[in-house]
Symmetry: C2
Subunit: 238 residues, 2 copies
């Protein structure tokens, strides 16, 4: 928490506290309280609050103080909000949300990639799929996972849609954590390698429908893993 700039220390600490629920919704902070807690000047406290306000974690009103907002209004795609939730006890809920998001967007991202991938991106996909095969068969799990991550990252980038691109980090987070999501069978399976190869070939071939279908195949076991949580009652964030 060594802050090159002071306000980022304030933001990180308070943001994590709010997102984790340690500071409950509705709590009214004051600038003076923040100044004292972090031993900073009013300016620093105010700039920190502006940042949290931009994330919709708090609102600031005269006479009312700085009021912690409910999760519904948070900017849940903000990198820092995601990070804070992953670092809190809400990590499982955050990973579930991310995985569901991934299930939604990856198939059509593959479709778009088939239409828009550059030669460089196609090369990167070929290499990633190849490495998954090689390291998967060799039992090199770490390298296999790295190739897997590179593959999915490249597909999203190759969609050339800035919103899909913006979701790369969150999706990668979900990909990396896959084993935690009820995905019980041994991790590198031949079927997965085949499917990644199919996605790669379809994208290289410009066949959007095939790329989408193959990506759906990759996600099918993630979907069944999520299935158990589908009727979960505690799906509200916070």
């Amino acid at each position: 928490m060594v802050a090159t700039v002071l306000h980022s220390g304030v933001v990180n600490a308070l943001g994590a506290d709010i997102v984790s629920g340690r500071i409950p919704v509705g709590t009214a902070l004051t600038l003076e309280g923040i100044q004292e807690r972090f031993d900073v000047s009013r300016t620093v406290a105010r700039e920190g609050m502006r940042i949290l306000e931009a994330m919709h974690l708090v609102t600031s009103e005269r006479r009312h103080g700085i009021v912690v907002q409910p999760p519904e209004s948070w900017h849940v795609f903000d990198r820092r909000v995601i990070r804070w939730r992953l670092d809190s006890e809400h990590r499982p809920a955050q990973l579930r949300s991310l995985t569901e998001l991934r299930i939604g967007i990856e198939p059509f991202a593959a479709h778009l990639a088939a239409a828009r991938a550059t030669e460089d991106e196609k090369d990167a996909l070929r290499q990633a799929a190849g490495e998954m095969r090689v390291f998967g068969e060799a039992g090199r799990l770490d390298r296999y996972l790295a190739a897997d991550i590179a593959f999915h990252r490249t597909v999203l980038r190759a969609s050339h849609n800035e919103m899909y691109v913006a979701l790369i980090e969150p999706v990668i987070e979900a990909v990396s954590e896959r084993p935690l999501h009820g995905h019980s069978h041994a991790y590198p399976v031949p079927a997965a390698m085949d499917l990644h190869e199919a996605v790669m070939l379809a994208i290289a071939d410009g066949d959007g429908a095939a790329a989408e279908a193959a990506m759906l195949g990759i996600l099918s076991d993630v979907r069944s893993g999520i299935g158990a949580a589908l009727h979960a009652d505690d799906v509200t964030a916070g």
Copy 2:
């Protein structure tokens, strides 16, 4: 642009300028320049910059000033960034991105909704689907569109995934603009009403696969509308 708080005026003006490209990437602003342009104090200028910095529209470095960042680093899901892009000459590109996002997320949102919708949400879907039928057959286009919007909004909300919920406004924006996306045939068609009804019934019935399939049907003509733009070269944001 009447700003109850001064810094929001600064943020809105500069944000729109940056996002539209009127202030090119790499431009270095200074606090002093901002103070003069908007006739505000240093405090206000700094707080405004903190907000733009939180959106990753600018970075602020000593000696360099406040440097405008490239579109890749923007927080493209920030409501204000989307709004500014929609209000700029990049509106078509933004709508295309949003429509592609919608195509990705709505089917699985329907799937999730089938598992998680509350009774109230199911009621809202029934009502929206019913109104689409009634107003569609009566030729009341405005009411038909309103019901359509309510329907899609409710499906996303019923997914009970905060990330899908956070995408409601952007998706609605795309839904409202559908006619602009090469969607050429007359707007309220019986097939659309049938499909919305099918989604509603599947969700009410808890049948995720059916809900997803029906939603894919709703999106099929949006997808064909996008098809023309699939190989567009100017897909980079900014």
